[in-house]
């Protein structure tokens, strides 16, 4: 999957599955403070990401993922390691 396609898919999943408002999707947005994604939502994101990317996210690795851009990078690095 190309990087921009990964980003598009992540955005679609956040809007459709986590029900984030489309207007709030912005790479600089903070997941917790701006998008309101709390610890329980992260649990659901793990399931959604595994189902859509075949990638197992780990709770311990989330500490450094603060913004949406951080999240895009986290997924891209693991789906397209090169």
């Amino acid at each position: 999957m190309q990087n921009d396609e990964i980003i598009k898919t992540i955005n679609r999943l956040l809007i459709e599955e986590i029900e984030i408002d489309e207007e709030q999707i912005n790479p600089a947005a903070e997941l917790k403070n701006d998008l309101g994604i709390d610890s329980l939502d992260f649990v659901d994101l793990f399931v959604i990401i595994e189902n859509n990317f075949g990638l197992k996210m780990k709770a311990e690795e989330m500490a450094e993922v603060k913004t949406l851009q951080d999240f895009y990078n986290y997924i891209i690095q693991r789906v397209n390691p090169n």
């Binding site: 986590i18 029900e19 709390d38 329980l40 939502d41 649990v43 659901d44 399931v47 595994e50 197992k56």
Partner: protein
């Protein structure tokens, strides 16, 4: 000092109506909510009869986070509570300013447990289960979720007492308000409707197998009754102290004047006569009235051969002289189980405030144990000042509530 306890709000999501108006109409016309469910037959049920409700659409009504941990019966309870709060004249700002509690009856939540374990068995990874199932799976799911949705800050727990759950929830709410511990409590009962939760009940051969005539299968007190029909939904009854209700100019729909309870101390599923007699007697004593003041009894009677007989005997022992009107609304709704104790209070209050008794449909012939009762098999005009409502459950748990018409 004992506080008087009144009913200031009611809401219902039932197989005979999605709101009070629809339910009143169904009660008056003796309409049944029982169907034949082909899926159950396919799955291997002995009886495919069940009550049925439509699942509410809450996307766009409730935020995702508030929906994710809410199972189907929680959705029914949310709808019922919305209606109850509306007719109680209570909005969110009232709930924000006052400590309001919740005591809801519920005794199972099968589907979320089955689904989450299926995911585990399939994926061999609990990280694939998601955040909602744990909250959906617990018996306290309804009170847990509603207290978060409505931001309640008073008493908060679920009452589990099998088929007496809803009744006991109202009874305990009544006691708390009477004691002055809380001014207002959202009480009620919720019951899931699905094959997963009733399969092991069907295993007892306890359901009616009159599958060719679903609306005639639930026939409490009738000579040809052959078992109960499972059903469900949710019912909310808002209990409030009389002083609080008067202070805010609330409409009062009735007053709870007695709560009696007992345990049979015998068989886990077969009822007896002594337990129900003691529960009813206690409620009458608490109400401080004579037996002949009870105008109408909403019986527990589920359409089982033994259960209906024993309740008939118990009723006759206490009320044989005064012969109040007796019906079981389960003839129309089926056995609403954990919801029943709360919904049957609503059905009876509707009757009381509209001066009629809904028919015990399908009562065509009595048997030797039920012929002594004054059973209304047709819609009957009646002046009900005081009614008694029974709910009995597995393990021999019994609950009897007495409600009086409110006159200013």
């Amino acid at each position: 000092m004992d506080h008087r306890v009144v009913i200031t709000g009611m809401g219902i999501y039932s197989v005979i109506g999605k709101n009070l108006e629809e339910v009143k109409d169904s009660l008056y016309h003796g309409r049944s909510g029982i169907i034949f469910d082909p899926l159950r037959k396919k799955m291997g049920f002995r009886s495919a009869l069940t009550g049925m409700v439509e699942r509410p659409l809450l996307k766009g009504v409730l935020d995702r986070r508030l929906r994710v941990g809410l199972p189907a019966q929680g959705e029914y309870a949310y709808k019922a509570t919305l209606e109850a709060l509306k007719n109680a004249g209570i909005d969110q700002s009232f709930l924000d300013k006052h400590e309001v509690g919740i005591l809801y009856g519920n005794d199972s939540s099968a589907v979320p447990v089955v689904e989450s374990v299926d995911i585990l068995r399939n994926k061999k990874d609990t990280m694939m289960i998601g955040s909602g199932y744990i909250f959906q799976s617990m018996n306290s799911t309804v009170s847990m979720n509603l207290s978060v949705i409505f931001k309640l800050r008073g008493i908060n727990f679920t009452v589990s007492g099998a088929c007496a759950s809803g009744s006991h929830a109202l009874g305990i709410g009544y006691l708390m308000i009477r004691q002055g511990l809380q001014n207002m409590i959202i009480c009620g009962g919720a019951q899931e409707i699905n094959p997963e939760s009733t399969a092991s009940f069907d295993a007892l051969n306890a359901f009616s197998i009159r599958e060719s005539e679903p609306t005639k299968a639930s026939r409490p007190f009738d000579r040809d009754r052959d078992g109960l029909v499972p059903s469900g939904g949710a019912a909310t009854v808002i209990l409030e102290s009389y002083d609080s209700a008067i202070k805010r100019g609330a409409t009062i729909y009735g007053e709870i004047v007695g709560y009696g309870f007992s345990s049979n101390g015998e068989h886990i599923s077969l009822p007896n006569v002594d337990g129900p007699v003691r529960a009813m007697e206690m409620s009458v004593r608490q109400a401080g009235i004579k037996h002949d003041k009870i105008d109408y009894i909403n019986a527990h009677a589920t359409s089982t051969p033994a259960g209906d007989s024993n309740e008939a005997k118990a009723i006759y022992l206490l009320f044989g002289k005064s012969r109040p009107l007796v019906t079981s609304t389960k003839s129309m709704t089926g056995h609403e189980m954990w919801m029943g104790g709360a919904s049957e209070i609503i059905y009876s209050v509707i009757m009381m405030n509209n001066s009629f008794v809904a028919p015990n449909i399908n009562f065509e012939n009595p048997d030797e144990s039920t012929e002594c009762l004054n059973i209304a098999s047709n819609t009957t005009a009646a002046n009900i000042d005081i009614f008694l409502s029974n709910s009995f459950g597995f393990g021999g748990t019994n609950s009897s509530l007495i409600v009086k018409k409110f006159n200013r």
